[in-house]
Structures are given as structure tokens and as C-alpha cells.
């Protein structure tokens, strides 16, 4: 099941391609910056939050989450491209277990998401967000869990999609809803019941909440519940991703 050289190869390939395709790198840095500075600054005046932070600071953890969800899912759905352009066949016909291919893909998505998210974290002084350096350790733990789970979601989508229907579809039906329902843009309190259910079911909510707790000392849920939810979700989605990837016809 676990073939280290296969995992390494799949991971290395995605990483090399990422650094070679500079446009993807720049694009996925520009997007969160636009949200953070333009939307954040623009809405700053019209939002009154309890506590000692302004709106830009409030959405900062959400922007980190946005970077992770975009990068993870974008990275996983390259499977669809590989299927369309033939390279997937080369890997699938090799004497390696498919599970290892899926795991390699998951680790690649995690790595790239962490790189992108780190760049956003480096911007924190610009919005005057300060947190103890020691908090970086748990922040990275949460980011790893999030990246791995979200790449898993991407793999499930890629394995289920029969043709390349465009990143736009996935963005409209998966990425944006998940992000909007994560409490990134607004506090997940005092919401109508139906909205609250969606927010509470969304694993991203707990990732954002944990990061926000570590960065701004502001959280809405208990740390252990959030962490537990993320771990359980990560395990479940890993099995799902492996299952669907193994079952897919290519």
C-alpha cells in the first residue's frame, strides 16, 4: 500500500511544476492580498467588532484559510489534467499501488499550501497582527491538518469528475461556499439556524477558529473540540480520497 518511492515521485513532480509555473504562485498570492487589503480596508469602517482588533485583523486568519483551500484543491485537481493529457496513465500502469499515488498527491497539496500560507503569515506585520512566535508550531499543525483534508476533498472531486469542467465550477460549488461558511468574513455567532448548521458542519470553520485563537486570542469554539473535529475529518477524508481514487476508471 505504501510505496515510498512512488509517494516521493508524485510529490516531487508537483513541487517542481509549482516552482516552474510562476503564474500560479503569483496568482495565488495576489488573490488573498486583494481580499485582505482592499476588501478588508474597505469594510473596516462599517464593521464594529467587540475586542481590540479591526476588521482586517479579524479576517486575517480567514485569508490564511482561503489560501490553503485554493492551493490544496487546485493542486489535487491537477489529477484531471493528468488524465486529460495522458500522464496519469504513465503512473497508473507502473508497478505501484494507487493508494501511494493518492497519498503523494495529498502530501504535495499540503506542501504547496503550507508554502503559500507561510507567505501570507509573513504579511501579518502589515496588518499589525502580532502573536508569540511559539504559536507558529500549533498554527502549522492546524494548517497541515487543513491542507491535507482539503487536498483530500480535491482528490475526491477529481476522481469523480469525468471531464475537465473547469476550475470555475469547483470554485463556485466547493471553494467559495466552504470559505463563506467558515466564519472567515463574519463571526459565526447569532446566525439564522440553517446558516449556523452549515457553518458548524464545515471543517474549515474550526481551522479558522483555531488559527484565529492562536493569532488574535479570539475563538468561538473549544480548542479540543475544534482539533478533534479536524483530526476526525482528516482521517475520514483520507479514506474517502483513497477509496475514490482507487475505484476511478482512467
Amino acid at each position: 500500500m505504501i510505496d515510498l518511492s512512488c509517494i516521493y515521485m508524485v510529490w516531487l513532480r508537483d513541487t517542481i511544476r509549482y516552482f516552474r509555473e510562476k503564474s500560479q504562485l503569483y496568482g495565488s498570492i495576489t488573490r488573498p492580498i486583494l481580499w485582505l487589503f482592499i476588501l478588508g480596508m474597505g469594510l473596516r469602517g462599517s464593521y464594529r467588532l467587540t475586542g481590540n482588533y479591526n476588521y482586517t485583523q479579524f479576517i486575517f486568519p480567514g485569508i490564511v484559510a482561503m489560501t490553503i483551500i485554493f492551493t490544496s484543491i487546485q493542486s489535487a485537481i491537477t489529477i484531471i489534467w493528468d488524465r486529460e493529457f495522458g500522464f496519469l496513465k504513465e503512473i497508473l500502469v507502473a508497478p505501484v499501488p494507487r493508494t501511494s499515488i493518492a497519498i503523494g498527491k495529498g502530501l504535495a497539496g499540503t506542501t504547496l499550501s503550507l508554502i503559500q500560507a507561510s507567505i501570507i503569515l509573513l504579511l501579518s506585520p502589515l496588518v499589525k497582527v502580532r502573536f508569540p512566535l511559539l504559536h507558529l508550531l500549533p498554527i502549522y499543525l492546524v494548517m497541515i491538518l487543513l491542507s491535507f483534508s482539503l487536498t483530500g476533498i480535491g482528490i475526491v472531486i477529481a476522481a469523480r469528475m469525468t471531464s475537465f469542467q473547469g476550475f470555475g465550477t469547483i470554485m463556485n460549488f466547493v471553494i467559495m461556499p466552504m470559505w463563506f461558511l467558515s466564519g472567515s468574513m463574519f463571526p459565526p455567532t447569532g446566525l439564522p439556524k440553517w446558516l449556523n448548521i452549515l457553518v458548524r458542519a464545515n471543517p474549515l470553520t474550526y481551522g479558522v477558529d483555531l488559527i484565529r485563537g492562536l493569532i488574535l486570542r479570539l475563538s468561538y469554539y473549544s480548542v479540543w473540540f475544534s482539533l478533534g473535529y479536524l483530526v476526525v475529518f482528516a482521517i475520514a477524508i483520507t479514506f474517502l480520497a483513497v477509496y475514490f481514487f482507487n475505484r476511478g476508471e482512467y
Binding site: M9, I16, E21, R83, K89, I91, L92, T162
Partner: protein, 330 residues
């Protein structure tokens, strides 16, 4: 070097896609060191057969041994022993030629120490050394094909599968690919199993199996297959092919086949018959040739159709096949 041991043994192999038999109980053997060709129109079941032999597709019935391993029970060993050149490109064109080969070496567990030398050797073999560090997206179709062959050979497989290896390449590149394949066969003692729908390419094979509608309808050396047709073939163009067709039937009792290129028929001795025909025919003759039969004529005789005129109908057939199979085709 052809020995007597078998590289591939296929027994009653069948693939049924929801009631449509893409491959219908075929059995054959390929000797080690042989160039074995699978010849047939598009949609005849060639690619499906290759996919089953490569363990990419599970047969509905039957079994096969590839390089001595069972395709159902020893998939991993089969995969280690074979190289594949797919019909469609399967390179990562955002990577360099060297990287494509390196990644192949990694997943096929070529020892790290040997890998760089092996890569350089295979690039040299396919005359791509000077392009090793160029991105594959800048390669021509022929170069990509050669790189795929180099990649397929990197882990020293015993059997190399090539699914339509020259499809979409210009004639000059096709010839060049064939030069490599023939060189390969003599220098590396590898078994080549290839599919094609080009008759002229089938001539390079030691033996060919003609496949149509999922069944093998003939299997022999190209020479023996052509010997099935004892007569010479005459191709003739006249001022009025329709009238000529009738006249041939009435005067000589010859049933000719008419198509866009004129009339075609068989006679025992073409060289003697042609002058006689030109003298006696009431319709002016524009052009006439007589020749020994080709594999095209063999295919025509066996199936009643011409392989190269299949393009329109075979596309239809492929389409309906794909519809029936749905996702399974991939």
C-alpha cells in the same frame, strides 16, 4: 533473436462492455524476441487487448501470461516486466526530457546509482541527448514519441507494448521510428507487441494477427498471409469505370471492385492479362498497373472491406462503442 519460448500466451481473452464484445475470445502466442503486430481498423479491439495485457483493464473472461506472469494474479510482476507506449501522448510536457525519464526510473525502482547513466544512455539511444534539459512541450511529435520509447525501455522490460506507435506522425518520422524499433529488436533482444492500422507497417513485423470486430481472423507471417492470394492484383482506370466493370464481368467473368481510385481485380497472371485487356477493351484505358498483393488486399479478401477506407465508418463505430461503454472506455 527469436527463441522458442513464449513472451505472451493469450487464452480466450474476452472483454465485454455491457453487452458489447470489444474483444471476443482471442487466443494467440507471441514468441520471445519477436515483433508481433496486431493489425485491424480502429475500434477492432486492439487497444482494449493491449490494456488487458498491461493489467490496466480487467478481462471479462479468459487469461494471459505476459513475460511468464499471470495478468490476473501477478499484476505487479507483469507491470515490472513490460514497457508501454500508449496511443495518446503520456509525457508530462511541463517537465524536461531528463525529468520525465528520472520520474519513470523512480517509480520503477531503478537503483539511484544507475539511474543517471541509464537516462543518458536511453537519451543517446533515441538521439535526444542534446535536448535532455529542454521542456517536453517544445518537442515535435516525433521527438515526443522517441522520448516515450526511451522511457518505456528505461527499466529494461522484457516485452514492449506499442499502441499505434506512429499514429499522427509524418511518413519521414514514421520511418525513423521504425528504424529505432528494428534496431531495438536486434540489439536488446526484447519482444515487441504493437498495434497498427497501417498495412505498410505491418510488413515490418515477424508475424501479424489481423483483428476485426474483436476476433482474430488471420495470424501468420506477412509473407504467408499475402501468399493466400495466389493471383496478381490489377488496378485500372478507364474513361468509364462503370461500363468497364460490366464489360469485365461479361467478357472475362471477372468481378472487379470499384472505388475512387478505379477498378481492382485479381487475375492469375497480371503481366500477360494486362496487354490483352488493353487491346480488347472497348473503353479507353487511362492507367493500368499490375502488382503482387499487399496486406491491404489480404484484409479486403478476409473482411470484404478496405482497412484504409474505414475512417468514416470506424469513427462511427468508435463513437457508438464509447457511448456503450460510457466511462469504462477511459
Amino acid at each position: 533473436m527469436i527463441t522458442n519460448s513464449e513472451a505472451i500466451i493469450v487464452n480466450n481473452l474476452t472483454k465485454d462492455f455491457k453487452g458489447f464484445k470489444a474483444v471476443d475470445g482471442i487466443s494467440f502466442e507471441v514468441k520471445a524476441g519477436e515483433i508481433f503486430g496486431f493489425l485491424g481498423p480502429n475500434g477492432a479491439g486492439k487497444t482494449t487487448t493491449v490494456k488487458m495485457l498491461c493489467t490496466l483493464l480487467h478481462p471479462s473472461a479468459g487469461n494471459a501470461l505476459v513475460a511468464g506472469y499471470d495478468i490476473l494474479r501477478q499484476q505487479s510482476l507483469v507491470r515490472k516486466s513490460i514497457g508501454i507506449i500508449f496511443q495518446d501522448p503520456s509525457l508530462d510536457d511541463r517537465l524536461t526530457a531528463y525529468e520525465n525519464l528520472r520520474f519513470h526510473g523512480i517509480i520503477y525502482k531503478v537503483p539511484n546509482k544507475e539511474l543517471p547513466d541509464l537516462i543518458h544512455q536511453s537519451l543517446e539511444w533515441m538521439e535526444l541527448s542534446d535536448r535532455a534539459n529542454d521542456l517536453v512541450r517544445n518537442f515535435s511529435g516525433g521527438m515526443k514519441r522517441r522520448l516515450e520509447i526511451a522511457r518505456g525501455l528505461l527499466h529494461s522490460p522484457k516485452v514492449l507494448f506499442l499502441d499505434e506507435p506512429t499514429l499522427g506522425l509524418d511518413p519521414q518520422t514514421r520511418n525513423r521510428i521504425w528504424e529505432y524499433l528494428i534496431k531495438l529488436r536486434w540489439e536488446k533482444n526484447i519482444t515487441l507487441f504493437l498495434t497498427t492500422h497501417y498495412m505498410d507497417e505491418a510488413e515490418y513485423c515477424d508475424r501479424i494477427a489481423i483483428i476485426d470486430y474483436g476476433k482474430i481472423i488471420a495470424l501468420d507471417t506477412p509473407k504467408a498471409l499475402k501468399a493466400q492470394i495466389k493471383n496478381d492484383v490489377v488496378d485500372i482506370q478507364t474513361a468509364d469505370d462503370l461500363l468497364t466493370e460490366k464489360e469485365l464481368l461479361v467478357k472475362y467473368n471477372i468481378k472487379a471492385k470499384r472505388d475512387g481510385d478505379g477498378l481492382h481485380f485479381e487475375v492469375p497472371n497480371g503481366a500477360e492479362f494486362v496487354p490483352k485487356l488493353v487491346r480488347e477493351l472497348t473503353i479507353p484505358v487511362k492507367a493500368v498497373t499490375t502488382r503482387r498483393p499487399t496486406l491491404d488486399d489480404v484484409f479486403l479478401k478476409l473482411t470484404g472491406r478496405e482497412i484504409r477506407d474505414e475512417s468514416a465508418s470506424s469513427r462511427e463505430r468508435l463513437k457508438s462503442t464509447m457511448r456503450r461503454m460510457g466511462r469504462a472506455w477511459r
